[in-house]
């Protein structure tokens, strides 16, 4: 590792010496630049936070009262000797890639990102860089996502079929990001939509940020007669708890589906024990990772959380220089391996 690297790994997290700042640190620091509000990237306890204006509401909904400075996408801020700007990562509302410029060198840290369209957040924007720090959650060629329209069509068809049979349709997914993307993507004319409390909290933050979502109900607000054609959005842990039993109708227990990139693999679908798996991810698939890396024009790529080894080897074989940061990202949300993702989820309280 060269002495003039703009980003290095410290015990606290990814550190930029020129700006004396950390990106998504996992230990308390003085100055933290937050790529997005998922729990493994945005933690409590830092003295000062910097994030996107688009992500302000969701970040506050997750972290409460913090000292937060915001930037518009593309807006530049001088911190120490570094010039910092945030660029859309297409991952969830407010998610950003962090661009750092210092003495003509440009490094971009991706945070989490996806290339596929998402109605609830700004689309991924490639940023030219000398060095690109990329995630690799789905860094294997078996991960290729179907078009989101096709997945939403599948979800609508499934919901309609269940509704016709008088059974509730439950989708287990992450409360922040995936839940809102599904809400924005489904055909709300099929039936009423019920959300778990954890989802409702974030929906309010999305609404405050100007993201249009269909009307939803809490489980306690919906009349029993309407349950049979309802769509229920809840975090995975809630679907294995007693909370889910209230959606049993005369026609039977609810159909439960899981929406995640992991559902691409049959083994994960089976091990999860869900009735149905929808392949819908907020991370880049293999072709997405490769195209994003290429679009940066970077000759050096540093790989973090996910399938680091295969992605690195593949890039090296294509003449790129590669490195690895052993981060502590990936402990929650979609990045957790499928089994674990089902075992524990961040928010479960109803």
């Amino acid at each position: 590792m060269a002495a003039d690297d703009l980003i290095v790994l410290r015990p606290e997290g990814l550190y930029c010496p020129a700006g004396d700042l950390f990106i998504d640190p996992w230990r308390p620091v003085e100055r933290a630049v937050i790529t997005h509000a998922h729990a493994d990237h945005a933690r409590r306890g830092h003295a000062r936070y910097l994030a996107t204006r688009a992500g302000e509401n969701v970040l506050r909904a997750r972290l409460g009262d913090i000292t937060l400075e915001t930037l518009d996408y593309g807006e530049r801020l001088r911190i120490g000797e570094a010039t910092v700007s945030l660029h859309p990562a297409g991952h969830v509302l407010g998610s950003a890639q962090v661009r750092i410029e210092h003495r003509g060198q440009v490094w971009v840290a991706s945070g989490d990102y996806k290339i596929a369209p998402d109605a609830t957040c700004a689309a991924f924007e490639p940023v030219r860089a000398h060095v690109f720090v990329t995630e690799s959650t789905f860094g294997l060629p078996v991960y290729r996502w179907p078009a989101p329209e096709a997945v939403f069509a599948e979800i609508n068809a499934w919901w309609r079929t269940n509704a016709e049979a008088g059974r509730a349709s439950v989708i287990a997914c992450y409360a922040f990001g995936k839940a809102q993307r599904i809400l924005a993507g489904v055909d709300a004319s099929i039936g009423p939509i019920v959300v778990h409390g954890a989802v409702a909290t974030l929906d309010r933050a999305y609404a405050a940020s100007g993201v249009a979502l269909p009307a939803t109900h809490l489980a306690t607000e919906i009349e029993r007669g309407a349950l049979g054609h309802a769509l229920v959005i809840a975090p995975p842990a809630a679907t294995s708890a007693t909370w889910i039993r209230r959606f049993t109708t005369r026609a039977g227990p609810p159909e439960i589906a899981f929406a995640s990139g992991w559902m691409r693999l049959r083994g994960a679908r089976r091990r999860g024990g869900y009735d149905r798996g929808f392949v819908l991810s907020d991370h880049a698939d293999w072709p997405g990772l490769l195209s994003a890396i290429e679009a940066t024009g970077a000759e050096r790529v540093i790989v973090t959380h996910g399938y680091e080894a295969p992605l690195r080897r593949y890039l090296e074989e294509r003449g790129l220089q590669s490195g690895r940061f052993e981060t502590q990202f990936g402990g929650s949300e979609e990045e957790a391996a499928e089994g674990e993702a089902l075992d524990h989820s961040a928010e479960v309280s109803p």
């Binding site: 060629p141 078996v142 290729r144 049959r266 083994g267 024990g273 009735d275 593949y314 074989e317």
Partner: protein
């Protein structure tokens, strides 16, 4: 092919028996008969055999996807299934011709001919086939030609679905389906029509007598016994008077049905596979029987007097070629214990005592290769029998068969025809350590329920040695030659309650050391009592032994890991091989 791929996906996506049955019925109701014929054939267990070798498929997938070999391998490791890996990495063809030939066309015109083409021709052909299919289709294709078709549907389920489609009794379908999946037969639209036809099957026993040249080898469904367990002092109470029962030793062989009709002889295994050619000595002996005879019995090496352990018979089944030496070293006898048809007349509605009398008369002068099972003398009362049962192991048998003398010969596990009991000796057991786990199938697919168990290579010297060994396993170290190790010897997936499975599942997730594919290596922390019904030396197993029907008897939470049994304790249970 799309319809069958969709059916496969539907069956694969659910763990509910009801949903699977509904999917099968939907399919059989709408598919063209020629396709349905093949679908029923595959689902009921028919296999094409491996038409294309795994290595070829792997190379093809890798090349088509344009991946380096190591990366394809990484994918395979992550997915754990070759067919799925190929299906997932295969490049999407933007302009897929929207044609959809049926399953029958695929199998007959595209797949079966693959075996006749050379390597290069085959690769080119396969590429075109894959390009014509979507992901679900590609997955199915590899399963069909690679010999790995499995979808969590039992033959019984297929029979029930067909019965529903045909509006017939499932037993009727079961009878017609006997031999349906035999490798030598190819399912046709006519065969499928005959399966679900509302008129009685044409190949009845009597028509076979009338037209001996075209006799059918159709066997009858096997009548199955129920296990008898519990306190042997209560036999009289449970079973009633001793004189109502026919009692025979229970042999540890292969249950089979011998059909002699017209000019032919057919030998069917209980798995409904035609095994006539595997047992030429039995087939030859059976030719001396009068046409229109069907016997139920057991294939056994050595016969009634000196039955050899099952492992010996197994060498006969697994060997591809029957050499003269193998035939002379493992002479197989068909031990008849029931008569289902004589003079071309179905005798299953007669009482067992009637059928037995006919059987004894028929086999009064049986040729070598055919024997009659001996019935225990009626003087042996319940207490005597209970004592005698303990000699089973020394006699090379599994216990007793108890058959009600007034019972008819039913189909399957029905109790309506009268009862048959199998009264086995208590299984052997050892205390073993859980070392690997894999997710179950069907209803239990979300739980880790398939376990591998190990015993100590030798008695541990002390607790410290046990702790060191476990620590070395956790670090993934290769043990030194003399080091204490855990030797895997058996896999088991039954015997626990759902509750217990959930508990053990949670433990496995907590104590996972590494994963490879679907398998988790588990930190040694739990001892189970493992029961099994037979044990034999085996060069193919690392432990040097192979056990039969292992199952979990109970979780031994009271046992520290160090007190699990040793390999010596297992080998001590080995019986002399003769």
């Amino acid at each position: 092919m799309k319809a069958f791929a969709a059916l496969y996906a539907r069956l694969d996506a659910t763990t509910s028996t009801e949903a699977k049955r509904a999917a099968l019925v939907d399919y059989f109701q709408s598919a063209p008969p020629a396709d349905a014929a093949w679908a029923a054939w595959f689902l009921a267990g028919g296999r094409l055999g491996a038409l294309v070798r795994t290595r070829e498929l792997r190379e093809l997938g890798q090349q088509a996807a344009g991946l380096p070999e190591w990366l394809f391998e990484e994918c395979y490791q992550a997915v754990g299934d070759l067919a799925e890996t190929i299906a997932l990495v295969w490049p999407s063809v933007s302009e897929r011709a929207d044609t959809d030939e049926g399953l029958a066309h695929w199998v007959e015109a595209e797949l079966l001919p693959l075996a006749k083409v050379d390597h290069d021709g085959r690769a080119a052909r396969l590429r075109r086939l894959f390009d014509r299919l979507d992901e679900a289709g590609r997955f199915l294709l590899v399963k069909l030609i690679g010999g790995g078709f499995r979808v969590g549907v039992s033959r019984l389920m297929v029979e029930r679905a067909l019965a529903e489609v045909a509006g017939l009794d499932p037993k009727r379908i079961a009878e017609r389906m006997m031999g349906y999946t035999d490798r030598a037969r190819r399912p046709t639209a006519e065969a499928f029509a005959a399966l679900i036809a509302s008129a009685p099957a044409s190949a009845s026993a009597s028509s076979a007598l009338e037209h001996p040249g075209e006799a059918s080898g159709q066997p009858y469904p096997f009548f199955l016994a129920h296990p008898l367990t519990g306190d042997s002092s209560r036999l009289a109470e449970v079973l009633g008077p001793r004189e109502h029962w026919q009692i025979e030793w229970k042999f540890d062989g292969i249950r089979a049905q011998l059909v002699r009709r017209g000019d032919g002889v057919w030998l069917w295994s209980r798995g409904e596979e035609l095994v006539t050619e595997r047992f030429p000595e039995v087939a030859q002996a059976a030719r001396t029987l009068p046409p229109g005879t069907v016997l139920d019995g057991e294939l056994l090496v050595g016969g009634v007097e000196r039955p050899a352990p099952f492992a010996v018979l197994q060498t006969r089944i697994t060997r591809k070629r029957l050499t003269a030496r193998l035939l002379s070293e493992t002479p197989v006898v068909f031990v008849a214990y029931d008569l289902l048809e004589s003079d071309g007349v179905d005798r299953r509605e007669e009482s067992l005592s009637c059928r037995r009398a006919r059987l004894e008369a028929l086999l009064a002068h049986a040729p070598a290769g055919l024997e009659i099972s001996s019935v225990l003398a009626p003087e042996a009362n319940w207490p005597t029998l209970a004592a005698l049962r303990n000699e089973s192991r020394a006699r090379g048998v599994e216990g007793f068969m108890l058959k009600a003398l007034d019972s008819r010969y039913g189909a399957g596990r029905t109790k309506a025809a009268g009862l048959w009991w199998k009264w086995k000796v208590d299984p052997m057991s050892v205390d073993a350590v859980l070392v690997y786990a894999q997710a179950g199938h069907g209803r239990r697919a979300s739980l880790y329920t398939d376990y591998t168990f190990a015993v100590w290579s030798r008695p541990p010297a002390n607790d410290a040695e046990v702790a060191n060994t476990i620590a070395a396993i956790e670090r993934g170290e290769v043990p030194a030659p003399e080091a204490l190790t855990l030797v895997p010897f058996a896999k088991a997936y039954s015997g626990l309650t759902d509750e217990e499975f959930r508990e053990v599942d949670a433990l496995i997730r907590k104590h996972t050391l590494t994963r490879f594919g679907p398998v988790r290596a588990v930190r040694p922390c739990l001892v189970f009592e493992i029961g099994f019904e037979g044990i034999a030396a085996s060069a193919r197993h690392k432990s040097g032994i192979a056990v039969r029907f292992p199952r979990m008897l109970r979780i031994r939470r009271d046992k520290p890991i160090g007190e699990a049994d040793t390999l010596d304790a297992l080998t001590a249970l080995l019986q002399p091989m003769d």
